[in-house]
């Protein structure tokens, strides 16, 4: 077990290092520099000073090693466009909103996805099943950047229940969370339904039924615990798609989260910001997948992490 954990953590670090190297070399492969827009107006000496300030005058390998060294101390460097702020500050600033939004969305998705999946499985081939599955197909088909304006149109403009955009009270979080959660709910519902149907046909469920245990108890005590495993394996990719979903949702709802800094960074060609946020997102994703694998073995004692084949 310890062996496995050490190996996994090493693998995670290698993946992160590759991401850093990849993004670093990609960024410097492009012609031009972050001061391209000012270079006509500023004297050569000032430009040289600016380059020196951000260490852009050093040879690339030196810059690369410096970045890595700072990264070890979790320093992501300064933002070039917004002068006084470091990328760390920006991430610290935006993380609250993004994490709240993402956490709320994934909670909604897990709770309702599992609930709908169970309802669909228990009413197999009856009306409720068809309703749940229609919802699931819709969720796969309608991307979040179309869902979000639809929600704004209906729940904020036609029926002004929630604020249209921006950030502040909890009411502001409802629409963006729903827009984000819609796709994941659909995916979880599908997986939960399929695995619940399989579990409910098992012999131990029949035994429990024969003993006269009420259906609710059977579902809670035997059904969910066994059916939830395939759903958990799917949480990793789901969280990845949720993270990318936050870019657009934060943009549409004008939410001051990390996604907004990332998108703005792209348009300003603010390389340290793009690099820093990419690393941050990747780290979150990699750690989450790792935690999910561990949770997997805790829920199902039959699975031993060490025996897992890559």
């Amino acid at each position: 077990m310890t062996n496995y954990l050490v190996k996994r953590v090493l693998m995670m670090l290698v993946t992160l290092w590759i991401i850093v190297t990849l993004t670093f070399s990609l960024m410097h492969a492009i012609p031009g520099n972050p001061f391209a827009s000012e270079s006509d107006q500023l004297p050569e000496q000032i430009l040289a000073n600016l380059r020196a300030k951000y260490h852009l005058d050093e040879p690339l390998p030196v810059q690369y090693l410096m970045y890595l060294k700072n990264l070890v101390f979790l320093d992501l460097g300064p933002s070039i466009k917004s002068d006084s702020r470091s990328v760390n500050d920006m991430i610290a600033d935006g993380f609250g909103a993004s994490a709240w939004l993402g956490g709320q969305a994934i909670s909604i998705a897990v709770v309702f996805g599992i609930l709908f999946g169970i309802i669909a499985a228990l009413n197999r081939n009856r009306t409720l099943d068809y309703v749940a599955m229609a919802l699931a197909v819709l969720g796969v088909a309608v991307p979040s950047f179309i869902m979000a304006p639809l929600l704004i149109n209906f729940l904020a403009i036609k029926f002004p229940l929630f604020p249209v955009a921006t950030w502040g009270t909890w009411m502001h979080t409802v629409l963006p969370s729903l827009a984000l959660a819609f796709g994941p709910i659909a995916i979880i519902t599908r997986y939960m339904r399929a695995s619940m149907i399989e579990v409910m046909n098992q012999n131990y469920i029949r035994t429990a039924e024969a003993k006269g245990i009420p259906t609710v108890l059977i579902v809670i005590k035997h059904g969910i615990r066994n059916a939830i495993l395939p759903v958990i394996t799917f949480l990793g990719p789901l969280i990845a798609s949720l993270i990318t979903g936050t870019f657009v949702v934060e943009k549409i709802f004008a939410i001051p989260g990390i996604g907004k800094y990332f998108v703005d960074g792209i348009f300003n060609r603010d390389y340290p910001v793009i690099l820093g946020t990419t690393i941050f997102y990747s780290a979150i994703l990699i750690v989450t997948i790792f935690l999910i694998d561990i949770a997997y073995s805790l829920i199902d004692p039959r699975i031993r992490l060490t025996k897992k084949e890559g």
Binding site: M11, M12, V14, T15, I18, I19, L22, T23, L26, M27, A29, I30, V137, V140, A141, V142, P143, F145, I146, P149, L150, I152, N153, I157, V164, A240, I243, T244, F247, V248, K251, I252, V263, I266, F267, R269, I274, T278, Y281, S282, L285, I286, I289, G310
Partner: protein, 313 residues
């Protein structure tokens, strides 16, 4: 009176001209069975016809109206649906019908080409890894290296990598395709490797080897045809996800550049007017993206069921 008359007719020996009853189902090849099952699946067929419709409209749609996707007419800005403009116009007076189907060309092209590149790279790499695994020390090492690369690429947040590549390269369709395929082949490679590993230890492969079949014959006649189903099903899911990724990138402003249109850029353009109630601006591109995702997904699901021998009737 012949003895035959007294025997219950059910137990009489058959005369030559009586046809045997019941079991004459025509013998079908594997693919005929798959197609037959697929045709019976109404939802999958609906998906198939939607795909067909979208492809046909992508080809002929833009030429059905006398406007091109980039013709501006500042007098006709944000016009509602009418006999002249079937899908209305946008904020520069461009015809939405022409733009929608021009966008279909771009979206479908990107989806199909990116998926095909994924297919070629994925099948090649996955096939090599699967074949090399368990072939002595050297073979195992090759498999190991490939799998480590795949594992790391799989751990990368793929849209982030695509966005990074898009930032670095010149914007355009080719760039989108390259960016999407750079990480997209990994899923296919994993799938094919798993399939080959599973297949090559089965008895029919061993039998072929014992009979002296060459490797090329085993690969072409046994291994590849048997992985074909899984590959095709995977293809029906990679096409919509490539289309989705393109819309997503275009929505963020990184994909197709003006004056060209894709469903993603049109959705993004419509964001500014959702408050004014010009619903058609969002509705048509949004509907097309959703229809495409829906059609490919239900068709893929149906194909998967049809290819699953456990679900055969």
């Amino acid at each position: 009176m012949a003895t035959e008359e007294r025997i219950d007719p059910l137990f009489r020996p058959l005369t030559k001209d009586v046809q045997a009853v019941g079991i004459t189902r025509p013998s079908l090849s594997n693919w005929q069975q798959v197609v037959r099952k697929l045709v019976k699946n109404k939802l999958a067929m609906l998906g198939f016809f939607i795909i067909l419709f979208l492809v046909v409209m992508a080809i002929i749609g833009p030429s059905l109206v006398p406007y091109s996707h980039s013709d501006q007419s500042l007098l006709d800005r944000n016009k509602e649906l009418s006999a002249e403009h079937w899908f209305g116009t946008d904020e520069l007076g461009r015809d939405m019908f022409a733009r929608t189907w021009f966008g279909a060309r771009i979206s479908l092209t990107i989806g199909v080409v990116a998926a095909l590149i994924d297919l070629v790279i994925g099948v090649t790499v996955g096939g090599i890894a699967g074949y090399m695994a368990g072939r002595g020390k050297k073979g195992d090492r090759i498999d190991n290296i490939i799998m480590r690369i795949i594992e790391i690429l799989y751990g990368l947040p793929y849209l982030l990598v695509v966005i990074l590549l898009m930032v670095v390269m010149e914007p355009g369709i080719l760039t989108i395709i390259i960016a999407l395929s750079a990480t997209g082949w990994v899923g296919m490679a994993r799938l094919v490797r798993g399939q080959i590993l599973q297949l090559k230890n089965q008895e029919f492969i061993m039998a072929a080897q014992v009979l002296g079949a060459k490797f090329s014959r085993i690969l072409l006649k046994h291994l590849i045809p048997n992985t074909f189903g899984v590959i095709i099903v995977n293809l029906t899911f990679t096409i919509p996800s490539a289309i989705f990724a393109e819309s997503f990138l275009s929505f963020l402003g990184l994909g197709v550049q003006a004056p060209d249109a894709s469903w993603g850029t049109m959705t993004n353009d419509a964001m500014g007017v959702i408050l004014t109630g010009d619903w058609w601006r969002l509705f048509f591109p949004g509907l097309m993206i959703s229809l495409t995702m829906f059609a490919f997904n239900v068709f893929g699901d149906g194909l998967q069921d049809a290819l699953d021998p456990r679900l055969r009737d």
